[in-house]
Amino acid sequence: MENNLDSAFHALADPTRRAVIGRLMDGPAPVTELARPFEIGLPTFLKHLRVLEQGGWIRSEKRGRVRTCHVRPERLHAAERWLAEQRAIWDARTDRLADYVETHLAAEDRR
């Protein structure tokens, strides 16, 4: 894992790439299966995979005509880190809700 942090984070800056990591967390998958949920062309999708490989998030291997992708567990090793990330997501979501309600809905409901 020689990759620097910049390329690692760049890899995560895109929702398609994050979704790919999410899918691969459930197990390895062939490229064609990975690409299926996305409404983008295969060449574009392959570019995303390349960015993920360069960022150290996934690796792939070709057997016959099928290229299979795996997530690289060393990038995602700690359950604690995973949970911390989930917490950050829900914390931010709850902050947005509070902010939205206080800004847009509080006044009219308090009449």
Binding site: R18, G22, G27, P37, W82, E85, R87, R93, D99, R110
Partner: protein, 156 residues
């Protein structure tokens, strides 16, 4: 890691009555405004607030194609008090294979005109998720497993 260690608890005092907070959840045009962080756009596809009712959101970035975000179903709905949904089932309680299995229990309580908003988010344990995972995982993999995936949709 046990099941309870994979739970999250979030609590906020929101300076508005429960009726207002409930509207932010129940009315799609409001819900879409806060569920996903901007500038990502959120689209509410299913928002059927009753037990077994479908719950689905999609997201898109920079006017691009809509992509999956959350898909599940509501389990309990008590207006202005409680909302429970899970991604382990889809509309009509049909079993599903989510990228991230979770159940979220949202409660609202009046505190002198403000709302105590609490969310408890339950996840599968990594050990449990590993049982369902495909072959080919390396040693030491088990700790993170399937659900980091969640980061994918939810960070968006």
């Amino acid at each position: 890691m046990t099941a309870s260690q994979a739970d999250l608890r979030i609590s906020r005092l929101i300076n508005a009555p429960p009726a207002a907070v409930w509207r932010a959840w129940a009315e799609r045009e409001h819900f879409e405004k806060w569920w996903i962080p901007q500038p990502i756009e959120c689209r509410s596809v299913k928002h059927d607030l009753r037990p077994g009712g479908g719950f689905e959101t999609q997201m898109r970035d920079g006017g691009g194609p809509w992509k999956p975000h959350v898909e599940g179903c509501f389990l309990a709905v008590v207006p202005q008090r409680e909302l429970v949904f899970t991604t382990m089932l889809s509309e009509g309680w049909r079993p599903s294979e989510p990228w991230l299995g979770l159940t979220a229990i949202i409660t609202l309580a009046d505190e002198q005109g403000a709302t105590r908003y609490s969310a408890r988010v339950l996840h599968r344990t990594p050990e449990e998720a590993r049982k369902h995972a495909d072959m080919g995982f390396e040693e030491g993999w088990g700790t993170a497993i399937g659900q980091l995936g969640a980061i994918a949709p939810a960070l968006a």
